[in-house]
Symmetry: C2
Subunit: 354 residues, 2 copies
Amino acid sequence: MGRKRLQESADGRPTVHTVAARAGVSIASASRVLNGVGGSPETVRKVREAAAEVGYVPNAIARSLQSQRTELVALAVEDIGNPVYVEMMRAIESVVADSGRQLLVHATGGRIDNETALLRRLANRYVDGMIVSPIRVTADHLTALQDSPVPVVVVGQLAEDAPVDNVRTDSRRGIALAVDHLVATGRRRIGFVNGPLDTVPGAARDAGFRTALAAHGIVLDENLVEVGDFQYAAGRDATERLLARAEPDALVCANDLIAVGALHALLARGRQVPTDVALVGMDDTELARMMFPQLSSVSLGSAERGRRAAELLLQRIADPSLPPRRAQVAPSLAVRASSAPATHVPAPREEVTS
Amino acid sequence: MGRKRLQESADGRPTVHTVAARAGVSIASASRVLNGVGGSPETVRKVREAAAEVGYVPNAIARSLQSQRTELVALAVEDIGNPVYVEMMRAIESVVADSGRQLLVHATGGRIDNETALLRRLANRYVDGMIVSPIRVTADHLTALQDSPVPVVVVGQLAEDAPVDNVRTDSRRGIALAVDHLVATGRRRIGFVNGPLDTVPGAARDAGFRTALAAHGIVLDENLVEVGDFQYAAGRDATERLLARAEPDALVCANDLIAVGALHALLARGRQVPTDVALVGMDDTELARMMFPQLSSVSLGSAERGRRAAELLLQRIADPSLPPRRAQVAPSLAVRASSAPATHVPAPREEVTS
DNA sequence: CCGGTAGCTGTAAACGTTTCCGGGAGTTTG
DNA sequence: CAAACTCCCGGAAACGTTTACAGCTACCGG
């Protein structure tokens, strides 16, 4: 009985020793056959049979220790419930699964310490790589990124010279698409409901909005700008504050959740969309198409960015010596009922690219 | 130079050997100090210093191989984008993170082979446990569940005698809550838009609907029942088919995504909600509150179920000899504008429990 | 003054896998 | 027919950690 003890793992499951003993070969041969490399036909047969008989399944941990890779990839986003991240996650998961790896998902809640802790924990080698979409970036963050022992790809704006793989979009340009469209359809008192200004996307969208208005020679009434959180409830509240002091004929929202909140605030106040107020969201998630009226929205290509990020990461895992690379996804505008011109019937859906 | 090679890991990162050598102690002492067990004050100081100087971080894989646990927990759901799973996932992640573990998320796409493959892969020990919410259950599935080498908790209906930890709700009772409410507010031609009947939730909801109608002495017109997928677009299409052949004065939908699709179909056909048709969804996700009018919805306590499932799993991981346990979460109905009585003004929001 | 004990330390064995290396058998070539 | 080469096999080392075990020192009590 003491003999068996040496062949199976602590909890009685078969190991490669069990298989080898049963097949009457060495563990080296057993391992080779199980990995499909080498072995005479006779050996292959014996080992395969033995493995099948005892129901052998290789222990992934031991394999990882040897190979120094876990076939796991992590994704860290602020809010796992935001549909934009869901879309990104779906795209990433698809690429990652196709490569035979699994995806580990972290919700950081946007707390910066949380995120850096996560980055530092990478040092323990539990994942082969990580995709992170930070909404705030500090110097601390950057150093943690740079001396991470495992590959990291950042989705979002990053300093030009940061030596880190990076997938980005031009959200300022995205906002400009929205503003251009609204101006072209006759709106002039265009308001903006943004997320926090101390976040990277928040700041970029704010700058984009101001630049776009200026390009049309429109002077911005600060009463038309309000800031909340990137969430539904915060968007609704922020819009209510805005409506209490100003009369916009259009609203640009920094994401679709905010736009849905804005829609509620507008309807609650008796404004018609798009007749009284045109509404444009951002991220072009499924949510935008679910609303009534359907929301126009600026697509920042979240699925595409996710896909590209996953590809960059897999390439870097395969060859860590690659120079830092950068991918850019162009924004586009999906025009729907919520921003139809006030004067006539809604135009059919139309896509304008970059 | 060959000496250093023995102290640091392949990629040049410090190991416990590096720390031990630097502190002038054995690796056993170093390991003990790093784990906070034993060691003289002098040894502790030296080891701590050495570890800090070289920036030592323990290798989680090696630790796992030794301890036979990964501190990872997996969650497998059909669709990571369905808000009901997002809520469940949030709750689970919170419990799991509090226990110092991490959550691995799988999207099965509802494909049964996918799910059993996942269960079988558990044998490779990459996670300490798994929560799975299958929408289809086969015999194959059940055996895979039962002889899984790691603990599994199932969220959803399961045979009474299945010796598996299980968290469930009574969705038949949930449907009954919706029907009772609609009947009480004067609706009689109540329709039902369901998901696939070959899924466990689909079948249960169908049965629940028929029973509930019968309890009110209403004979069901089969034209008022339509089946699609548990998705937005499928819900919209199914509702369109239903409306093309019948005139319901109320619709019960098997989840909130379907309800949103139904809302669109109704509005597109010129029906007013709730005046012409009352609408009740299921799962009571954030989405229900985001619509206009806000959707009444049957809550199946998804967050609560997630929390309970996570707790059951952690307990079983701690003590695998526990007998199989079962937790039940009662449904409740959140009444909102979409199902207000046709005749008078909407009643204030009201919660009816089980 | 000596046996016993407590506390610390280092050696070595485990965890389960892959892989390097040397040896043996069989096959081809000069 | 010998030499060289190919292929397969088994032993053993490695991956980086934790931990059982035994030895050592120092201290305490009798």
